[in-house]
């Protein structure tokens, strides 16, 4: 009897999980489907779900009109660069907070996170002026720095949470075993922290890839990443849903594939400290 109840509950949970999953995934699915429709079918009422004449026309038009490759490379450089730069800055910060905490460590962590609650538009004007002054407007370097800074609190928090999971006694054992600080970091801490560093890299790469506010406001043509590529098809004077969807699909596909293959790492990274 108890077994039957458990199985029923399991089935309900699975069905509910699938429903929620599909609900969340539906906009992406709809975008992908629309990208294979003609403009007329894309705006037809009632909407057509699966039974239409599938076409690749939108993709070829988008590829003809814009240089997808350049946008893609810009996205890779900006997302990759800002994540790597962020890790380089965040590792020592998280390290000292986790292993040599002061009375104010918790306050500093909260303060760092609170900066994420500030509406980005609130600092657009000063940052825009700074970009003009330092000649960083529409540059990959400028955007990399800004994205690194806006994601830094999350990187530090994630690494801090992960480092806190490493038992202090293991580090003390290394010290007792005659390890210098360098050897302790190189041979004991880093190998133990690699999964955490990897998932932090991954999540922040995705966050930087999807960032649209700063990438749209601080770039024009030269350093524009895929977010700008999508936005260029959102035209106020005409409804080109199919082409917009094709551009969106091309922009999100790389990150979708990356996310799909690394979901295990991502979930692990996000649940550090929550699940033993």
């Amino acid at each position: 009897m108890a077994r039957a109840v458990t199985n029923n509950r399991k089935m309900i949970n699975t069905a509910a999980a699938w429903c929620i999953g599909l609900l969340i995934f539906f906009p992406i699915l709809w975008t992908i489907l629309t990208s294979f429709k003609t403009e007329a079918v894309a705006i037809s009422d009632p909407p057509v779900f699966l039974f239409f004449d599938w076409t690749m026309e939108n993709y070829s038009v988008v590829q003809e009109r814009s240089n997808y490759g350049r946008f893609l490379w810009n996205s890779i450089f900006i997302a990759g660069g800002s994540t790597l730069l962020g890790i380089i800055v965040a590792v020592p910060a998280a390290w000292s907070m986790a292993f040599v905490p002061s009375k104010r460590t918790k306050d500093i962590l909260l303060w760092m996170l609170s900066t994420k609650m500030l509406p980005a538009v609130g600092v657009l004007y000063p940052i825009y002026l700074l970009f003009i002054k330092f000649g960083l407007l529409d540059s990959i370097l400028g955007l990399t720095i800004v994205l690194m800074l806006i994601n830094l609190p999350i990187i530090v928090w994630m690494l801090y949470t992960y480092f806190r999971e490493i038992p202090g006694e293991i580090l003390e054992a290394a010290r007792m075993d005659g390890a210098s600080l360098k050897s302790e970091i190189l041979y004991v801490l880093t190998p133990m922290a690699i999964p955490g560093i990897a998932s932090t890299l991954l999540l922040n790469f995705i966050l930087a890839w999807n960032e649209a506010f700063w990438t749209l406001n601080l770039t024009a043509a030269k350093a524009a990443p895929l977010t700008a590529f999508i936005a260029s098809y959102s035209s106020p004077e005409g409804l080109f849903y199919a082409k917009l969807s094709a551009a969106s699909t091309m922009a999100i596909l790389p990150i979708l594939i990356l996310g799909w293959f690394s979901q295990k790492q991502l979930v692990r990274g996000l649940t550090f400290g929550a699940v033993k």
Binding site: E169, E172, R175, M176, D177, G178, A179, M192
Partner: protein
């Protein structure tokens, strides 16, 4: 050599004084056990010797050298932690080799020492496994192996058996004891388990609230505890204490009598304490009787024979062995 001397060593965390000032002499080759209740500062004292905690004041001298300001790596000591603290990403072989690798010992010598430690600790078949694939006892052996290969001046053990089950604990206790006899290296061992302390130590250091209450051999501490705290802490089940009229008869503020020094009978006896049996814990070899109704000491614990014919609710008469009564003044200090 592994002679360790503590000279007025103190430790404070902010305004909290953990160790007000400890003096101790540990001779080369001795097996010393720090024992005391939780929070008494025994682990802090060990960690100060190890160099993992700074001293607030005082000196720690190892083999005539003041090491108070020297880091743990240069003190020449090895430590075994309660949680084993093995490197999870390394195999047993690499774990054991780690301190030698840090000391840049040549490969041949490393392998020789690894084999010797593995043989001594029955780890030969597990050298290529990772710690996650070992049982608790095996992990603790690896931790000991990692300590042995350093050939340290002294071994420091911080409650190394606490994570093991009871049966394994007894086995490992004997193994550590035998290891000490074989290596003849100084060992400083921290435990809250007084049975471990009594069975393993050459000398026991009893601590309370950061203060060293008494230092002595296990039997010294058992027979002549210097105060009421040590008398109550050493011995299992713990000593029974009386105050008031019973103590006054012996010209003391408090008297103490161990459960094994009390005779029990069901026959009425003049001048004996009369009480009622509460719980009778039968261990086979002994029976621990918890007696109620004795003024000044309720419940009183008595250690009787394993097959004593006394049960819950029985009236019993108890007579202490007068020669083995411990007397204490109002401050709890031993009289005579």
């Amino acid at each position: 050599m592994g002679q360790i001397t503590l000279k007025n060593v103190s430790k404070s965390f902010g305004d909290t004084v953990v160790i007000p000032g400890a003096d101790l002499e540990i001779k080369d080759g001795e097996f010393i056990v720090f024992v005391g209740p939780s929070g008494c500062g025994k682990s802090t004292l060990l960690r100060m010797i190890a160099g993992l905690e700074d001293t607030t004041s005082g000196e720690i001298v190892i083999d005539d050298k003041d090491v108070s300001d020297i880091g743990p790596a240069e003190r020449g000591l090895a430590m075994v932690f309660q949680s084993y603290a093995l490197y999870p990403h390394m195999t047993v072989r690499k774990n054991i080799a780690f301190p030698m690798r840090m000391a840049k010992l040549d490969e041949q010598e490393q392998e020789k020492r690894i084999q010797s430690a593995a043989t001594a600790l029955n780890l030969t078949d597990y050298l290529d496994r990772k710690p996650g694939q070992l049982s608790g006892g095996q992990r603790q052996r690896v931790a000991i192996g990692r300590a042995i290969v350093r050939e340290p001046k002294a071994f420091l053990f911080d409650e190394p058996l606490s994570n093991l089950d009871a049966a394994l604990r007894v086995g490992m206790r004997m193994e550590i004891g035998e290891l000490h006899k074989k290596l003849k290296t100084t060992m400083v061992y921290v435990t809250h388990d007084q049975v471990e302390a009594m069975t393993m130590a050459d000398k026991i250091v009893v601590l309370q609230a950061g203060i060293i209450e008494q230092v002595g051999s296990p039997l010294d501490l058992y027979h002549t505890p210097c105060n009421k705290f040590v008398a109550g802490f050493i011995g299992s089940p713990k000593m029974n204490f009386f105050e008031g009229a019973d103590a006054a008869k012996y010209n003391a503020h408090t008297i103490g009598i161990r459960p094994e020094h009390i005779a029990v009978t069901t026959k009425a006896k003049k001048d004996a304490w009369q009480g009622t049996v509460g719980v009778a814990e039968r261990l086979g070899s002994d029976t621990f009787l918890h007696i109620h109704g004795i003024p000044g000491c309720d419940p009183m614990t008595v250690r009787a024979d394993g097959d004593v014919a006394v049960n819950h609710g029985d009236t019993v008469y108890l007579t202490p062995d007068v020669k083995l009564i411990h007397k204490f003044d109002e401050k709890g200090v031993r009289i005579s």
